[in-house]
Symmetry: none
Subunit: 65 residues, 2 copies
Amino acid sequence: MDTGDRLLTPGEVAALFRVDPKTVTRWAAAGRIGSIRTPGGHRRFRESEVRALLEGELEKLGETR
Amino acid sequence: MDTGDRLLTPGEVAALFRVDPKTVTRWAAAGRIGSIRTPGGHRRFRESEVRALLEGELEKLGETR
DNA sequence: AGTCAATGGGGTAATTTGGGCG
DNA sequence: TCTGTCCAAATTACCCCATTGA
């Protein structure tokens, strides 16, 4: 499985959780989710970590998507 | 199987059923409806599941829309 | 170089949560 | 048993505009 290194933008993560991109930024600032910074200061998130958070919740619904 | 449907907020689900958002929260807490949590603790609901529940009840009334 | 969508930062509404009460 | 409401605290959404990314 090599899906672990792909980076997601704040907007992509926000869409997965159905929240505002700004909210994802706050999660990063609060340390709830790890984030990488571009030289320009924009945040990027590891897909593996986001998937883990999301699917960790989805499994409670009995679906594998 | 790809059930990649959107997620709904408590308020949106409440509007569909014409109930108070608090009631939707109780449904989730009682396991009557599946729910996932944002890292901040807010609930999100699967549109497909909500629709299924809603349509299922509407059919009992012989309604198509 | 120049366009345009997305992001960051700051500040302010709106929503959600959880408990308890009726 | 199920639902609506009041409350305080926490989380999230929307507004601005300068900067970054593609």
